[in-house]
Amino acid sequence: MTWVVWRQHRAEGLILLVVLAVISVFLLITGLEMANSFQQLRLSNCLNLISRESPCLGRIQVFDNQYSFLLGGTTLLLPLPLLLGALVGAPLVAREVEQRTHLLIWTQSITRMRWLTVKLALLLGVVLLVSGALLALLYWWQSPSAQIRGSFISRIYDTSGPVWVASALLALALGIFAGALTRRTASAIFLTIALFVAIRVPVEVLWRPNFETPVTITWPIDQQEPPALSNQAWRFASGYIDAQGNRSSDLREGCTGEMTTTQCLQANGVQANYISYQPGDRFWTFQWIETGIYMGFSVLALFAAVWLVRRLN
């Protein structure tokens, strides 16, 4: 059965390998350069300094200017799991039924369930290995940027922890489920994309900031500078607190030029400034929580796929 899986998927495997090889070479070359720059700019001395007068700011600026385009390119990696789900996952059952080859393969001497479990085990195993290897490379590649900007920026967070691997497995599992459900490759691909987005986006936007209760710090309005905060912290909300304890991000009325900031804030009834954030040391906890969520959905999708294939006729 292993041979059959290999023979059937070697074309997709080859495409995937070429894509990965290109990405890896690119990451290696640019990664070495970035690490080099990071060292030359002596940025490792700058990681805990936030004050505005720090000479570090200029050096960070240099690094940012040089690499922001490159770093932003990481976003292009995010659809990679989806490619896997659409190319390998969706056709897994659907193409067999479309081309009626399920009638051939399910009437050999091995049972339908054995066919499915071997196929799932091998494909999931390969995806786990390959995405894991890419993750190791990405983690190293992102680390200079992560040290400066913090690991919670979504382009870093999504590609330098187990969430990356879980995301690939989720896309594959959803693809297999969609294929078993629709039994048509084309519709299965659309369904895979829809399901993947429907799970990932709410988790990322709504759930992730609240995996653990955020830390909120406040400071008086006459103090201009917020308290120093590690650059690893994930700041996702800031604004003003009024006498009743209500939080808002905007002022009711604008400030005129004659007022000082403090006067303006007082006029708006603001009692204190606040900032909400997730401390940087929660990175791995968050990664594992999100990994757990995606794995949960993956297991669900796979069980549903197995059930559908068992009943398929």
């Binding site: 059965m1 041979w3 023979r7 081309q99 051939l104 009437t107 050999q108």
Partner: protein, 305 residues
């Protein structure tokens, strides 16, 4: 004699339609059987139920005493199946397909498969998708045969083949059947080509078995009776009338004889297998002539033809 395939009240329903209903039959081992019926009679359903691709709604199917669905590890190695339109992995070469057969079947006879491919002149390096329809059918058949099954089921294997490919296909099949004493069940909507290769006939119509038995026995017991215009009450008390047609003076019947013919007013003729099949197939659903013809309105009898 042992039984290769046995079904008991086997029924399959899709939504509200019964694809197969109350199908009870038993196919003795060693036979080459034709499963004949019009399109939509339930032939594919019966075959798919027999290889465990489908789960029965009601009833049971057993292959050499095993349920293909509940005991697949025992039943599957003993079954060979060639599906309709002989699906193959189009991107696989013929050699790849043989490797697939070898990897997935413990008893796969690689030597036999290669020998047959050579005899048929099918190149091992050619991709399945590039073969002609006839060659694809041959490859599917060889794959199923090399599995060394005890029961081989084929779903309309001849439908898409030209006459020459048909003959070659049936020759390969018959060679294998006589060599290894394998049981074959072959479905078709026409009897034509099957008459020469099959020795057992199952007629399936309107999702039910109309007739099942030894081909020679069927040929022997079915007669066309021609006589003066008369009521069929007398004859249907002894024999089973399958089909009746009338002209002004003459009555023509197709009868299953349940004994010798005593009434000398009838003239008996041999009848071709094709006519027997057609007679059974033209019976209406649910109208299996269990009630004697005489009990019906004369007008209805006119329509029976």
């Amino acid at each position: 004699m042992s039984t290769a395939l046995e079904t008991t009240k086997l029924s399959k329903r899709y939504g509200r339609t019964w694809a197969l209903q109350d199908c009870t039959l038993s196919l003795p081992a060693g036979r080459v059987a034709a499963l004949v019926g019009p399109n939509g009679a339930g032939k594919t359903t019966l075959l798919h139920l027999s290889v465990g691709l489908l789960e029965p709604t009601v009833g049971e199917v057993q292959v050499f005493g095993c349920s293909p669905l509940r005991q697949p590890t025992e039943a599957l190695p003993r079954l060979g199946f060639v599906a309709q339109d002989t699906p193959l992995y189009k991107s696989f070469t013929v050699a790849d397909l043989l490797t697939l057969g070898r990897k997935l079947n413990p008893g796969f006879d690689d030597g036999l498969a290669r020998a047959r491919m050579q005899k048929l002149g099918i190149p091992l390096k050619r991709r399945a998708g590039k073969l002609s329809g006839g060659q694809q059918a041959q490859v599917a058949l060889v794959l199923a045969l090399a599995k060394r099954p005890d029961l081989l089921l084929l779903d309309e294997p001849l439908a898409s083949l030209d006459p020459l490919a048909r003959r070659e296909f049936l020759r390969t099949l018959l060679d294998a059947a006589t060599e290894s004493g394998l049981t074959v069940l072959l479905s078709s909507h026409i009897i034509g080509d099957l008459e020469r290769v099959c020795d057992y006939l199952i007629i399936l119509s309107a999702s039910q078995v109309q007739l099942a038995g030894d081909m020679q026995e069927i040929a022997k017991t079915h007669r066309r009776l021609i006589g003066p215009r008369q009521d069929v009450a007398a004859i249907s008390s002894l024999h089973t009338v399958i089909e009746a047609s009338y002209t002004e003076r003459q009555t023509t019947l197709l009868v299953r004889m349940n004994g010798p013919l005593f009434d000398s007013s009838w003239h008996a003729q041999d009848v071709s297998m094709e006519d027997i099949v057609l007679a059974y197939l033209s019976q209406q659903a649910g109208d299996r002539l269990q009630t004697p013809l005489s009990a019906r309105e004369p007008q209805e009898r006119e329509v029976l033809k």
